[in-house]
Subunit: 122 residues, 2 copies
């Protein structure tokens, strides 16, 4: 049993890592999903409790959780009739490291406009 769980987990990780950054960034690109992650940062939460604050059906929230789960950002565990969702921030680390490669360019945010104006202004 334990071995099967580990193998399943490894297979899922392998498939996901093929384009892990794709699915991580895609999962983060929706306001509702970022809100779900923020909520889970406070601790494990049942799916139905997650759905509460949102103006959408529980089915829709369930789909969002599925997207987060496929991206490895959330783990879901069935206990009784409830599904408990837990934050798994590991994929965020890779995303953050990818972004940090561009840190040197963050200070230049107005350079492009300034240069364009210098060339074309008035």
């Amino acid at each position: 049993m334990r071995r099967l769980l580990i193998v399943n987990h490894m297979v899922e990780c392998y498939v996901r890592r093929m384009n892990a950054l794709d699915s991580t960034f895609a999962a983060l690109s929706h306001e509702a999903r970022r809100a779900i992650l923020a909520r889970l940062a406070d601790g494990e939460t049942r799916l139905s409790d997650l759905a509460g604050p949102f103006a959408m059906s529980q089915t829709a929230v369930s789909k969002h959780v599925r997207v987060l789960s496929d991206a490895g950002l959330v783990t879901v565990e069935q206990r009784g009739r409830s599904r408990y969702c837990r934050l798994n921030a590991a994929p965020m680390k890779d995303a953050s490291e990818w972004l940090s490669d561009y840190e040197a360019f963050w200070g230049q945010q107005f350079d492009n406009l300034a240069r364009y104006l210098a060339d074309n202004g008035d």
Copy 2:
């Protein structure tokens, strides 16, 4: 002329900021667009030179650049018959700051599996 450019820039920024993180993360969620950004980190590049290494039409690359441009990650400037693309990493800073809120959780990547196995294993 200068004033018009600045107003246009402000309007574009305002509209974009409405869901800036959405469009930033969405723009970053495609391998080809991340490759384009990596290329632009080496300096300004013509659109046709960007298209070279990709196994897709120039039209498709043009569409990717449009997505990056709409997200404010790239500025495009027409000079002669060429379009010069330049990296604008400013939106990445916001994305990175959002991610850094979860930095405290990055160390827990195997906790969930371990806990699950402890509860259900064998």
